[in-house]
Symmetry: D2
Subunit: 437 residues, 4 copies
């Protein structure tokens, strides 16, 4: 594998010259970096690699000098797209860091996603206070509510200016970040000094060059409950089949981690690994063998798996994401049909727990993680960075240009991933379920 250096330069509004009022005992140097690549096939390769220009990310953290004078700053927060555990933790921590560390007095929460950043929907911004945000981390969802879909960047920038916003924090996924970039471009076009900082919210954990997104830990942990129930149902009836559909439009991270935690799953279907339904070596005949031999089976499927079965579908949702075919409902029908043809009475129980996963409060792991993401987003914004998203790489919080973050989706490579290797071990499913000619 050859690593092309990637441009990870972070855009700035100007020079940071104001001493930080944050009162920390130590600050992160603006020059500090974390290496993109820390693993090598052998020690010699290390030096070769570093002789070439290595890729690194700017480290996140509080800067000794900042760009914005806090007394002039009004900051805004908006939460977009689907719910994810931890949104309120992030909103709370952004407010707390701005308010208590940087003494920013005016932090506005915009309601209902990008809808709330325009005039036309009539949603009023909320002036956030300690009292409002103090306990919100105990609740799932978003106190700001959310919506899908973009709005006209020009209208948004008008609205930002109208509200005196100097730093806008956008909490959202791929679509939201693209929207954030569009807002940034419009700001830049107008020559305004407004920082836009993304905080990557995608329960699927599929953002490029970012090791982990918030909500993911909670999500696969919570998914376990549904899987346990499906296992109980599968073993509770003759020829019982439990099937659970989990989140993961482009990547199987939730599904794979949930399978590894559960240890009961027999089949894991993910977007990154193709499979056929019928024919020798395909999924349904293998499922049949399992049922005949063990009398029950447990399947988990990522929502983005098997999309080839919905080829003519080209609907998109309000966020501009391709509307997926419902692989859970599809498989349920196909499995029932197949076993009917095979004359085997089965009991298929299908669980779609998505809304019961994404709306719970963050677990402790995510809660801590959200705090750091939010604080680092504030540090970045106050330092005058813009058009970037806060990330983490090699366990160090980073600044990632939005261009890099949205360049492609992070996916799991079934040919090289130790995660997928472990799934095959744990489930006993074959390396491939492509039908043989």
């Amino acid at each position: 594998m050859i690593y092309e250096p990637i441009d990870t330069t972070i855009e700035k509004l100007g020079e940071a010259t104001i001493p930080s009022p944050a009162g920390y005992e130590y600050y992160t140097k603006d020059s500090a970096v974390v290496l993109y690549k820390a693993i090598f096939d052998n020690p010699e390769e290390v030096n070769d690699y570093h002789a070439a220009k290595p890729t690194f990310f700017e480290q996140a953290g509080p800067r000794e000098k900042i760009y914005f004078d806090p007394q002039w700053v009004t900051a805004g927060i908006v939460t977009c797209g689907g719910l994810s555990p931890g949104i309120n933790d992030v909103v709370r921590a952004v407010f707390m860091e701005l308010h208590y560390r940087y003494k920013v007095e005016r932090v506005l929460g915009f309601k209902y996603g990008y809808e709330g950043l325009t005039r036309k929907h009539g949603h009023k911004p909320i002036l956030l206070t300690h009292e409002i945000v103090s306990d919100i981390h105990n609740d799932g969802g978003s106190i700001l509510s959310s919506s899908r879909g973009g709005q006209d960047p020009a209208e948004i920038v008008d609205f930002l200016i109208e509200n005196g916003i100097k730093i806008l924090f956008t909490i959202g996924g791929d679509g939201t970040l693209k929207g954030t970039r569009a807002i940034h471009d419009e700001i830049k076009k107008r020559g305004k000094k407004i920082s836009v900082i993304g905080i990557p919210k995608t329960i699927d954990n599929d953002i490029n060059m970012i090791q982990k997104t918030f909500g993911f830990s909670t999500a696969f942990s919570k998914a376990l409950e549904a899987i346990k129930c499906a296992h109980v149902e599968a073993t509770g009836a003759p020829n019982g089949i439990g099937m659970v559909k989990l989140m993961g439009r482009h990547s199987g991270f939730i599904t794979v981690n949930a399978a590894l935690a559960s240890k009961e799953v027999n089949f894991v279907l993910i977007p990154e690994q193709d499979f056929d339904l019928e024919g020798e070596g395909a999924f349904l005949p293998i499922l049949k063998q399992r049922i005949l031999k063990r009398k029950h089976a447990l399947i988990i499927v990522a929502e983005g798996a098997g999309q080839k079965f919905f080829e003519n579908n080209d609907m998109t949702d309000a966020s501009g994401n391709k509307k997926l075919g419902d692989i859970g409902v599809f498989l349920k029908a196909k499995i029932n049909e197949y076993f009917r043809k095979e004359n085997i009475a089965i009991n298929l129980k299908y669980i779609d727990p998505s809304y019961m996963i994404r709306s719970v409060p963050a677990n402790a792991e995510d809660s801590v993680f959200c705090g750091f993401l939010a604080q680092n987003a504030v540090h970045a914004g106050m330092a005058g960075k813009t058009n970037m998203v806060v990330g983490i790489w090699n366990n160090v919080f980073t600044h990632v240009p939005i261009d890099v973050a949205v360049a492609k989706r992070k996916v799991l490579d079934p040919k090289a991933s130790y995660l997928w290797r472990a799934v095959l071990s744990s489930t006993g499913q074959p390396n491939s379920m492509i039908a043989r000619e």
Copy 2:
């Protein structure tokens, strides 16, 4: 209201003459009773009532003299119908009481419901041991698995005789109890001395003359989690509507208790209370008012509610229960359609958590309760009672003839129930949602 005396006499296989080996310090007299009616509109009424023949239930409990000599007893356990929290607690406690208290050495577990009580499905009974049952109460489902639907009573009785069964414990709901009665009738026809004892498993809590069935407490407690998620979803999007379908084919007990525990619910729809969808005073216009006023709404609906909308449906499932129309999916479509017509953009999130509720382990309340039901079932069986089900009334464990238990469903009376009164208080929904002419 006039109380017709009900025949609550318990059938016996013969006189109980063998001293109980159970070693208890105190036993329940076979004559002991609990009054059916303990509440009166005024104190005078008490005496009037008792001057007439009052109805009472036989008290459950260990008897000093038993009918079966434990050394000749093989007992059997079978679990039928859908899963419910606590089945394994019951199986465990039946075994433990038989084994440790009565010294019954052979307890068979029949697999897959009534299927396992015939030869033709080829399911082998399991010889239960301390080791097998010791930890099963920590898991949901049934270690014996279950199935729906009856089998030929003659075949079953053949199989019972073949396996030397003297007492059969059937764990199931209305359909199962009717099956148990049919088995009893066949046994009686053949003049055999085999006891059949039902343990009422219905998550819906709808068995006649029985105050509470096991799994119900766990069910409405667990349902709360889905309701919380639906509430978060409802408040997390513009005009968000959360809707949860809960168990309750004939009665709204789970739905009502879950609503009272949640305190967030705006609309509760149950089988016992009719409602219309459109027209003045009907559900959808009232929902619209709520959305316009508060921008979000939370609905919970029992699966048996609104069945009038599926009038031509007369399918039945394998247990002989009428197949219900799916009111959740139906309402989801109707609500979306209605608001589309009204030109109001809504965000409806629908959750059907049934399989994630019925397959969890019993909570502590149910776990304790299951133990008593099971022990009392064993006491009854060893005492030679038959054709009965173990119940509870005025907090005392009772013996109830199967005829009484299956005579009708226990339902909630919206015109007189303090539960429904409290729901109206808690939700603020109108007393009636029938369309006015």
Copy 3:
């Protein structure tokens, strides 16, 4: 057993003549009763009993006519004594029922127990609103905070009058109720028309003539977690002994129910059942046998058990309750000492989870139950009842004179209780652990 009729007459401030504004479709008659005794050794006894004057409780519920005109009512709520799950549910429901059903506009929350009902501690009452109480049921503890100990009734009545209180709701246990009675006596002495209504909060479930108190279900359910941990610790080391101390100053209800739910416990020690430590047949030698045979043991002990070992202790706490000797710490030392003498190396792990039990939010069972207790307390207060506490008997909500409720403690009778019988079955511990001469 002979039942002496008990005087259960409820004191009233005067005649209820005002039509209730509550808008319920059905009301509870003021004459309605529930029988105290519903179980009998044989059916004949029923008539004999009812020929004599039977004891019954007044039924709780909304009355068609009330005593107080809501527009003149200021109500007050105070929470006293130790924390218990569900206090906030009760506070919330008292407010909601007063506010939405009876249109009472002024409901004051007094802070820090009876301290907040006097001037001298300087705690200001809070004017409760929908917003303040709306979400409090999701949190443990009491938003009003609490304190132990009484205050001068005269000072309290002065303060009530000063604040214009017409109905005072006191949420507390035995000590609190005695305080409530003293307040009532002072009010009466002064000829004031102020109602005082108790809502029985005792996690121990030991209030006389009341079937169940709130928080109890949550408490024994939560106790299970500590017991599971103690079991894991016991089996995790050579000769491991796990011991858990649970709440129960006078009665073993929590301990017994937790043992029955757990099914792993080997020894249950409760206040109602005497035991010796050393000598033939006593606790320690029996524990030794268990350790030698099975290499681990699990003990749960109610805090009020074995108080004879602390005979010279006569301290009392601020609530006037006798200060108990710490039986957990005492047993820990005794067990370690005994095995040291016996030259057996053990690993004793002692868990005292009290603060982790009483401070959690109510479970779903308790949450529903708290709602009904609170609503019925409001109905009683508005109807002009006083010097009473809301209870439940034979599953019907009742009015109980404070005199009756505090006459003695409800305890479990080891000689007659089916609960204790089940504990002996479940643990295998001997009927008696009194040392034989």
Copy 4:
């Protein structure tokens, strides 16, 4: 900071020449490494660093060639020291990987820690099977049980040889690893080809050069529950103080992460940060200010904090760890005494939840993590590595020489850690609580 290269060479029993039977699609090269240092103060430093000899760890993972022929291998597993969530996950995964991937037929579980590796305690090893380990990950503790303290390495090696052990997996912390090294040294002295592989179990997460140990995520997550309860208690009484003691003998990782997840904590006391009790700027006066101002306070303290207050204590436990003074009990007394002197009535509630944390099952994060640790331990053992422990660094699983792992404890540096910086932000406690002269 100057990085001295560290010798991370892994010892091998001999050359790995046998093709792996594991059947993986891809293997990890034996030369593959992960860099120790991935962060730099500026990009230039990267090249300077790599010009010098950088430190790297060998990557863990399955090797294409292995050292042991599986058909001759008997493997052993032993679990030592205190309980930690995830032990059973590790035991299960070691067995599964050995059995299903490498076809090792004989895996022995040694009971009760190192006691079970000698003859003299008489504990019999268990022959592990799929059935035995299949569900153990659902339970806390260790199915093998554990014990503290070492045993004579010579006796252990005798016993290993007697049982034909080729690979020994030791699951334990610092003391256990030192014991493992002693066993290795004895094996080497005798010229035997037995591999010893450590799997780092320390709930405190304090092992040198290892990013994370298993059980840690579960531990701080579970600790949150105790902290929530302490917070409820603190706010539930006048001048309420909640205090929780958490695990962490040498390091505050659990305490710090729990504080960050909780967001309610006011004081965090850890071993790495000195503090005084009395005098200007010290802990107690600052606590007093908080109480006077806010009327409640929440303290969490790591068990190893404030050990200077127990200077004359030099007891050690069976594992050779210095016995710590009980800082929780000590502080409880000191706080009560101080406020008594100050004439301020407080309500201090102290919770020590250790046994309720370490004995729970692993959460989903830890469960996945345990699987990888165990599988990589098996790969290392089969490849003939020895005297090493499996670790993780920069998110890559690694091989770490035991010498490196036990060289010192991993601690948090309050002068440079972003974790501690975040704690100060979250609690508002001063940077230092050392008394000023």
